[in-house]
C-alpha cells in the first residue's frame, strides 16, 4: 500500500490533490451519535452548564474588586471627612457627593451612615464573592468533567458500532471486492479512520459547540457591559481568523508534500526490512543506505520548511491576542481616568477577553480535525455502501441435502463486469461421486470454475446448478455447508489445532475431530506435540510446516463431510515423503464425493472420471486419460511437458 502511495504521489497533479467530500457524510456520521438518544445529548447539556459557570467568574472577580474599592474609598472618605474643618464642609460636600455618584443634597449624616455601612460590609461582600467563585469553580469543574467523560464515552460507542458494522460488511463482501482491495487498506479503515472520526465526534464536535457558545456568550456580555470598549478591542477577531486562514492555506500543501515524502521513506524502509536477504546477498547495503539518507534528508528539509511557517504563525496569533489585551488596557485605562469605568469592570473586561480568545485558538485546530474526520468517514461509508455482488436473493430457499450433480450451462464469466471473458461458454456435467480434473495453463480458467461452484462469484452469463437448483436461488449458507474446500495455501487461525480443524463445524465433538485428523494423516504429528490437539497455532503459536498445514486443511474439509469437494492438489514446498502422506489423505477425501481438482499430479489425472482441458477460458477437450492422450494434442503436450517430463525417470532407474 505504501508503495502505491508513493507512485500516486509522483503522478498526482496538484489540482487533483484534494478530492471533494461527498455530500451528507457529516450528518451521516453524526447520526451514529443519535442512536444513543439522551446519552448523546448529555455532554451538550453539561457543556452548557459548565460554560455558564465559567462565564460567571469574571463577573464575580469584578464584584470582589468593586467591594474592595468601595470599602477602601469609604474608609478614606470617612477619614477625610473628619479632617475637613467644618467651615469648609459646605464647600467640600457637593464635590465629594459628585465623586461618589451620590444624589446632590444628601446630608453629611446620611453620607457618613452610608459610608460606614459600605466600610463594614466590604469584607463580608469580598468573602461572599470569593466563596461564590469557589462554588462556581467546583460546578464548572464537575460539569466540564461530566461533559468530557460523556462525550468520550459516546464516541467510544460510536467507534464500537462503526467497527462492528465494518467488520460484518467486510466478512460478507464477495470475493470480487476482496480481489480489488488489500487487507492493509481495509485494516486502516477499521482502525485509523474509525479513530479519526471518533476523535472528532468525541472531542472536536463538543469543542466546536463549546467554542461557539463561549464566543457568542462572551461577545454578548462584552457588548452589553461596555459597548465602547468592546468596539475598540474586537478588531482582533477578524484579524485572528484571517491569520488562521492564510497560514492554513500556506501550510496545507506543505503537509501533503510531507506525507508523500514520509510514504517514500517508509517504502524504502519496508522493502529493506522485508527484502534484507536480497540486499545482503547482492551487497547493496551502501547504496541502499545512500538512498535512505537522501530520503531522510528531503523529509527533514520539508519538516524544517513547515517549522519555519509555524515560527511566524504562533507568535503572530499570540501577539494578536496580546494586542487585544493592550488595547483594553489603554482604552479601559483612559475610561478609568475619565471616571467612566471602575477598576473592577476593567478587570472583568480583560478576563472576558481571554474567553474570546480561547475559542478562536480552538477553531483552527477543530477545523483541521473536522477535515480529516470527514475524509475518514467518507472512506468508512465507502465500504459500508459497497455492494456485494453475491448475496442471497429475497426469498432464497435453503438447499436441501444434495446428491452432488454439478452442472455448468453455457457459463461465461468476466472479472469486474468487463473485458475479455475468463470463461467463455463453458458447459459440462459432473455426476454424483465423480472426480473432475481440471488442467490448463495459468489463466486458462481453472480457478474460476472452482470459484463458481460455492458461488464465490456469479457467472456473467449462463448458470451453474447443483442437483438442478440454480445456485442463485438458494441461500449461500446452505450451499457452502455442503461444499468442502482445500486450498493450495492453508491459513491457520490463532487458536488451537482442534479449533482449526473444527473451523467449519465449531460444534464437532473431539472424537469427530480426531477421526477427521486420522483420515487426513494428521493425527500422528498432532499427537507428537506435547499439548496434542490443544497446541496453539497461528501467528503466536507453534509453526507448522507446509505439509502439516495442508493436512489440517484436509481434516477440516473431511469433518464437514461435504457432498461436493473442491481442491487444489498441488503440494508446494513439502518434501517427497510428506507429499506421499498428503496424497494418501487426499485420495481418502475424494472417495465417494463429487470432486473438482486442479490437477498437478499424474495420478489424479489418470484416476479422474472426467478431465477438462482448459485453454483461454474454454474447454478444449474433455474425457478420460487414455482417450485424451490419443486424440488430443493440447492434452498430450501438457501431459508430456508438465507431468510426463518427470515420470520417465523411474523407467531409467528400473
Amino acid at each position: 500500500m505504501q508503495a502505491t502511495q508513493t507512485r500516486e504521489g509522483k503522478r498526482a497533479k496538484p489540482a487533483a490533490a484534494r478530492p471533494k467530500l461527498p455530500k451528507g457524510v457529516f450528518p451521516r456520521a453524526v447520526r451514529y451519535l443519535f442512536r444513543y438518544k439522551w446519552e448523546a445529548a448529555l455532554p451538550y447539556l453539561f457543556l452548557l452548564i459548565a460554560t455558564l459557570a465559567q462565564l460567571a467568574v469574571p463577573r464575580l472577580i469584578r464584584n470582589m474588586i468593586e467591594a474592595v474599592t468601595q470599602g477602601v474609598v469609604a474608609t478614606q472618605v470617612l477619614e477625610g471627612l473628619q479632617n475637613i474643618p467644618s467651615a469648609f464642609m459646605a464647600q467640600a460636600l457637593p464635590r465629594i457627593l459628585e465623586f461618589l455618584n451620590y444624589t446632590p443634597g444628601t446630608t453629611q449624616e446620611q453620607l457618613v451612615t452610608q459610608l460606614t455601612v459600605d466600610k463594614v460590609s466590604a469584607p463580608e461582600a469580598l468573602i461572599r464573592a470569593g466563596i461564590f467563585i469557589v462554588v462556581f469553580a467546583v460546578l464548572r469543574g464537575l460539569f466540564a468533567f461530566l461533559q468530557s467523560y460523556w462525550a468520550e464515552r459516546n464516541s467510544q460507542s460510536v467507534s464500537f458500532d462503526m467497527r462492528n458494522e465494518l467488520y460484518a460488511k467486510i466478512q460478507r463482501l464477495s470475493f470480487s471486492y476482496h480481489d480489488q482491495n488489500q487487507t492493509g487498506q481495509l485494516m486502516i479503515r477499521a482502525t485509523d479512520d474509525v479513530e479519526k472520526v471518533r476523535l472528532f465526534l468525541g472531542q472536536g464536535l463538543v469543542q466546536l459547540v463549546g467554542a461557539v457558545v463561549l464566543l457568542s456568550a462572551t461577545l454578548l456580555i462584552l457588548f452589553t457591559t461596555n459597548v465602547q470598549l468592546a468596539l475598540v478591542t474586537l478588531w482582533i477577531l477578524p484579524v485572528a481568523l484571517a491569520l488562521f486562514f492564510i497560514f492554513g492555506s500556506i501550510s496545507q500543501p506543505l503537509f501533503m508534500k510531507l506525507q508523500v515524502r514520509l510514504a517514500a521513506l517508509n517504502t524504502i524502509l519496508q522493502e529493506n526490512l522485508a527484502g534484507i536477504k536480497v540486499v545482503k546477498a547482492f551487497t547493496r547495503e551502501k547504496s541502499e543506505q545512500r538512498k535512505f539518507g537522501e530520503s531522510v534528508n528531503t523529509l527533514m528539509d520539508e519538516q524544517i520548511r513547515i517549522a519555519r511557517i509555524f515560527t511566524f504563525l504562533f507568535p503572530l496569533v499570540f501577539l494578536v491576542a496580546n494586542l487585544g489585551q493592550a488595547t483594553t488596557l489603554n482604552a479601559g485605562g483612559q475610561q478609568i481616568i475619565a471616571g467612566t469605568l471602575s477598576l473592577g469592570e476593567w478587570q472583568e473586561f480583560s478576563l472576558y477577553l481571554i474567553y474570546l480568545f480561547i475559542p478562536l485558538a480552538q477553531f483552527g485546530f477543530i477545523i483541521s480535525q473536522f477535515g480529516q474526520a470527514m475524509a475518514s468517514a467518507g472512506r468508512i461509508f465507502e465500504i459500508l455502501d459497497a455492494k456485494s455482488d453475491v448475496t442471497d436473493k429475497p426469498g432464497a430457499l435453503a438447499l436441501p441435502q444434495v446428491k452432488g450433480e454439478v452442472h455448468f450451462e453455457d457459463v461465461t464469466f468476466r472479472y469486474f463486469g468487463g473485458g475479455e471473458p475468463v470463461l467463455d461458454g463453458v458447459s459440462f456435467t459432473a455426476l454424483p461421486g465423480q472426480t473432475v480434473a481440471l488442467l490448463g495453463a495459468t489463466g486458462s480458467g481453472k480457478t474460476t470454475i472452482i470459484n463458481l461452484i460455492p458461488r464465490f462469484y456469479d457467472p456473467s452469463e449462463g448458470r451453474v446448478t447443483v442437483d438442478g437448483h440454480d445456485l442463485r436461488d438458494v441461500t449461500l449458507e446452505s450451499l457452502r455447508a455442503q461444499i468442502g474446500i482445500v486450498l493450495q495455501e492453508t491459513t491457520l487461525f490463532s487458536g488451537n489445532i482442534r479449533d482449526n480443524i473444527a473451523f467449519g463445524k465449531p460444534e464437532a465433538t473431539q472424537a469427530e475431530v480426531e477421526a477427521a485428523a486420522k483420515a487426513a494423516a494428521a493425527h500422528e504429528f498432532i499427537m507428537s506435540f506435547p499439548q496434542g490437539y490443544e497446541t496453539s497455532v497461528g501467528e503466536r503459536g507453534t509453526t507448522l510446516s507446509g505439509g502439516q498445514k495442508q493436512r489440517i486443511a484436509i481434516a477440516r474439509a473431511l469433518l464437514l463431510n461435504p457432498r461436493i469437494l473442491i481442491l487444489d492438489d498441488s503440494t508446494s514446498s513439502v518434501d517427497l515423503q510428506t507429499e506421499s502422506h498428503i496424497q494418501a489423505a487426499l485420495d481418502q477425501l475424494m472417495q465417494g464425493r463429487t470432486s473438482f481438482v486442479i490437477a498437478q499430479r499424474i495420478s489424479t489425472v489418470i484416476n479422474a472420471d472426467q478431465i477438462l482441458v482448459m485453454d483461454k477460458g474454454k474447454i478444449v477437450a474433455s474425457g478420460k486419460h487414455a482417450q485424451l492422450l490419443e486424440d488430443n494434442e493440447i492434452y498430450a503436450e501438457i501431459y508430456n511437458s508438465q507431468l510426463v517430463g518427470d515420470s520417465d525417470a523411474p523407467k531409467d532407474a528400473a
Binding site: Q171, L173, T311, L329, Q642, G645
Partner: protein, 668 residues
Amino acid sequence: MFNTRALLDQEALKPKKTSETLGRLAAYFKPFWYALLLAGTFVIIATWAQVTTPELTGQIVDCYLTPAAAASFGGGAGGQSPIVGAAGEAAQSNCWLASDAEPANTTQRIIKGAFTLANFQAPADPANLTNAERITGLGQLIAILIVLFVIGSFLTGLTFFSMSWAGQHVLRDVRAQLFSHMHSLPIGYYAENEVGDLMSRITNDSDTIQQAMSFALVNVVSGVLLLVWIAYNMLTKNVQFALLSMAIAPLMAIATIWFSEQARKAFRKTRVEMGSVNANLQESISAVRESQAFNRAEENIEHFRATNAANRDANVRAVAFTSALAPVLEALSYLALAIVTVAGGLALLNGSTLGGAVVSIGLVITFLGYVQRFNQPIQQIAVLWGNIQSAVAGAERIFGLLDVVPSIQDKPNAKVMGAIEGKVELDNVSAEYKPGEPVLRNVNFYANPGQTVAIVGPTGAGKTTIINLIPRFYDVTGGSVKIDGTDVRDVTQESLRQQIGIVLQDTFLFSTTVMENIRFGRPQATDEEVIAAAKLAHADGFIERLPEKYNTVLGERGSGLSQGQRQLLAIARAALADPRILILDEATSSVDTRTERLIQSALEKLLAGRTSFVIAHRLSTIRNADVILVLKAGEIIERGKHAELLEKQGFYYDLYMSQFKKQEEMAG
C-alpha cells in the same frame, strides 16, 4: 552463532535507567549545541518578557489609575489633596516608575532605561498628575508593554524553530544510524523479530523522540523557568501574599501526578485491547475467503464484537481519568484566583498591609496576573510530561535495537576476497540455532569449480542452513566453510558476497521499474546489459508485453506479476550479477507449463560454468547434478549421482520412490 535471541533476552532483563537513556539521547544533540544555546537564550528572554507583563500592568494601576481615583475628588483648586488615604500612599510608594524612585532590580532598571531611551516622561509625582498627563503616561506604558509582547512572541517562535531544527537533524541522524545498523544485523535477527516492530522503531519511536525533544522539552523547560521566576518575583514583593498565592500549586502537582499515573495504567490496558482488535482484524480480513467458504461469517462477527467491546470498555475506563485532570486543574486555578483576590482585598481594606508589608491595588492586580501565568505552565507540564515519558520509552526501544551487537562481523584484519575460481569446501561443519539443538552435524563436502551440487532431504534436515552458511548469513559453530581454501570468516562480508549470486524461493521485488529490479544485481550495469540478462533468463518476452515494458513500475512485492514471472526476474538479476558461485532455492509453487519450461531452460543457462548449490525440487535438476547430497536430521547420509544413489536403494531411493511409486503402478 545465532545468539541474537540471547541478546534480546539480555536487553529485556537489563534495568532501564531513565537518566542514562536521557544522557544518551542528549549526546545526539551535541553537534547542534549552537541551536540549543540559541533556544536557551531565547527562552530566557521570552520568559522575562512574560514575567514582566503583570508588573507593568501593576504599574499602570499604581502610577496612573489609583492616584487618579484618589485625586479626582481630593484635589482642591491648587490645594493639597485633603484625602490621600493609605491606599493612595501605598500606590504611590509602589510606583517605582516615578522619576524619584530608585529601581530595585534589573527589570525595573531595564524598563526605566527603555523609558529614557524612548524619551518618555516618568511621572514626577504620581499623585498630582493632570488627566491628560495620565493618559499620555498610560499610552507610554502600554507602548512598552506591546514591545514586550512582540519580543516575547517572536522569541518564542524562534525558540520553537531552533528546537525543531535541531530535533529534525537529530531525527535524521537517528534514523540513518538505525537503518545502517539494521543492515549490519545478521539474517538470523530478522527470523526472530517482526518486521513491523523494527519498522515502528525507525519511524514512530524516533518521531516521538523528536517531538518530545523539540516541543515538549522546550515547553517544560520554559514552563519550569516561568514558574521559578514568578515564584521568585512574588516572594521578593511580598512573602506572605506570595505563599498564599502559591498555596494551591502543590495540590495541582499532586492532582496531576495522581491522575496521570491512573491514566497511564488504564491506557496500558487499552493498548493491549487495541492490539487484540488489530490482530483479529488482520487475521479475519486476510482469511476472509476461508471464512466465507466455511460459512464462518456469523461466528467471526460475534467474536469480533466481543473483542471490540472489551476495547471500548477499557477505553471508557481510561477516559474517566483523562477527562478529570483538566477540569480539576481548572477548578484549582480558579480557587487560587479567589484566594489572591480575597486575601489582597482584605489586606487593602485593613489598612493596606499584609503581614506587615504594604499592599496596593496595583500589587493585587500584578499578583492576579502572576497567578494566571503560574497555573498555565503547571497544566502544560502535566500534559507534556506524558510526552517526554513516552519519548524515553521510545528511546529505550531504539537504543535496545542499536545495542544489539551483530553476531556476524568482519574481523578487524579481514581481507578482501579477490577473484576466485569457485572451489567450496565445508570442513566438519556443525551449526545450531539454539544452543544444544544442532541443525547440522559434522558436515563434510567440497564442490569443485563449475560443479552443481543438489541438496535433497526432508523438511528440517538442514538444507537451507547449508546454503545460508556459504554467503556467511550465519556462522558455523564448529568446523569451517572455505572458498578457494580461505575461511569465509577471514574475508570481508562484502567481498565474499560479491562472488555469490542467490536466487531465493520467494522472489523479492522492489516497488520500482522492472529495469531497476534486475539492475539490483549489479548497479553499474548498462540498460543493454540488463536487457541481455533478461533475455538470457527468458524474461524478455513477458517484459515486452508489460504496459511500459522495462519501465513498468512494479507494486508491493512485485504484485501484478505471476509467481513464474517473478522467478524469471530473479534469475535475470542473478545472471546480471554474474557470480562465480550460485545458490539456488528452487521454487516449488505451481506455475503453468510454458513458464515452467522457460524457468528450467533459464536455470540451465545460469548454472552453466558456475559452482552451484541447489535445494532441489525438480527432478531435472537432480538428475543433472554433479553430486547429490542427501540430508537427514542435519547429517549427510548419502551422496553421489542420481543413478548411483538409486542403485544403493537407501534413503534417497525411498524418498524418490514415494513420489513416483503410484506412477509406476499406473505405467505397469
